[in-house]
Symmetry: C2
Subunit: 347 residues, 2 copies
Amino acid sequence: MTPNRIPPLTKTSTVNKQTVNLSPQLKLVEAEMALVEALLRSNLIDGNAYIEKLLEQIFISGGKRIRPLLAILVSKACFNSDLYFSRNHIIHASLAELIHTASLVHDDVIDNADLRRGKTTLNHAKSDKLAVLMGDLLFAQASVCLSRLMYPEIVGIYGQVLGDLCSGEIKQMLSAFNTDITLNQYIDKSIGKTASLFSAATTGGAIINQVSNHTLINLKQFGLNLGICFQIVDDLLDLIGNAKDLGKPLGNDLLNGVITAPAIFVLNQKDDTAQTLKALIENQSVTELANLEKARQIILNTDAINKTIKLADKYAKLSLANLDVLPDSQYKEALKQIVNQILSQVD
Amino acid sequence: MTPNRIPPLTKTSTVNKQTVNLSPQLKLVEAEMALVEALLRSNLIDGNAYIEKLLEQIFISGGKRIRPLLAILVSKACFNSDLYFSRNHIIHASLAELIHTASLVHDDVIDNADLRRGKTTLNHAKSDKLAVLMGDLLFAQASVCLSRLMYPEIVGIYGQVLGDLCSGEIKQMLSAFNTDITLNQYIDKSIGKTASLFSAATTGGAIINQVSNHTLINLKQFGLNLGICFQIVDDLLDLIGNAKDLGKPLGNDLLNGVITAPAIFVLNQKDDTAQTLKALIENQSVTELANLEKARQIILNTDAINKTIKLADKYAKLSLANLDVLPDSQYKEALKQIVNQILSQVD
């Protein structure tokens, strides 16, 4: 968090940050996460074996499973009890991952991506056609999960999440290479892209547990603040992370005209540096790799990275404060550790 | 319905069938349909004006609105009363059209279509990327509608519909050019592609009206039988309709390896004609226009068209019988007229 922990600002600098390691937290609810994993790979629509095989392929490629993990841990942490844990919690946790995965499958079609997490994407391995349909099918699986829960309130929350995800992506598309974006608009976009689903994941299980309204509001905020923090960190890693870990070139967001917190901090300076960066983005010079690296170095040579880390830290602290509403337990501890793990990637 | 009403089987024969005209039925519930239309074009997710404009563009291109029309008419016909009509019925009717439209928007991306109903498709006018996202957004709008209804039973029905739609398309893709398809499998596929959503549309409003279980079962079957009839007619028009009305070449299904009822009837003959058709399909010769026309003429020169019309007629009759459960009313009459209108395209 302190300036001396920022990577040296050389032209080739990347930082070998600690990657998120959620193993201890996953271990704590291992049996529950295994049930989630099995549900994710089940064909809930019909008995078609080919579709089940496709689901298996989609989910075997991994992912951190942070959304269902949050959902399960919050469910357990509400009353520090295993007594209230029902099949509904498993269904809800799976639902959060289904929606996340559906959006990734469609993102890969949209971006014409051939690799995700080091594995061949569905659109690349099979076809765009099948990937669009399988993304839709994952949304359908999520709808079936929603209907099994029988909680209209949760249906409403996830309906809004779905809308936020699409609307966030559409807005990002529309504002590509537009340097007028404010920090508030960036936070709003991060809510739509990420924090809305995080918040749903930390809320659904609590609704099933029938917690007090005060607890519910705090758990909702916990997910929202953590989601914003997660997105800020993710965007920062795109500039200063390890290209190999990321599986894409550094500065990939800028390359696509997506302007994130660090660039916004520079642009807000309204000085010559800001003007240079503004020009590089607005005339789309950043789509050439040499100019992209130039833009990246401009950002690294200001204190924008520090400011961004502080911003992520602010949301991490807010999310930790939201957890005060919960009784002390190993589950609450695990939730705190997840917040710190996310932040540790950049601090 | 009689053989002499079948088009002359010349090489260039197409039939100028009566196109579906639902004007009198739409007129009967004009005010309600106007509310549906307004809801379809509303951005239920956020205040973004650009998204609202896109919705406007998507829905202005028309469509018969048969699904919401069925939903509204059934709602009114349950007790032949306007008293029980609530905002929920409008939301439910819109939901059925939202899901239908979402699947069309994605179909156009998948098929790389540039025209639908004579208007430029979204993928062609803007981009595949935006069309995938807008399809997802339409699903999200449907989810928001579902959550507003607060009927977990309806959530379950539409969750299954979504799954049936995707699974039906995936199965169709997998079985392209496979002549082993049976008539039962074809009917199953038609349920997934079409009848499942028709059935949801004729059921949702009845659930909101709290009709008896006996009535509900019949209304569910009404939608299912009508949907199967609709799909059979649609598939038949692909072979014998007016290419200009269809906006695609005759035999487009066969061209894509999609085997429908008329072809199945020929293949089931297990004679030399069946063998010739089988070979044309299995070695994918039908992807060449001359061979496609050859295959089409083979089908037209058997009584497969007659048999298909009889099949559509069977499901039309079944659907009309399901309506016996309703009290006599102008709404019930309108529902009957819709069945007959659909069938009149080919009889």
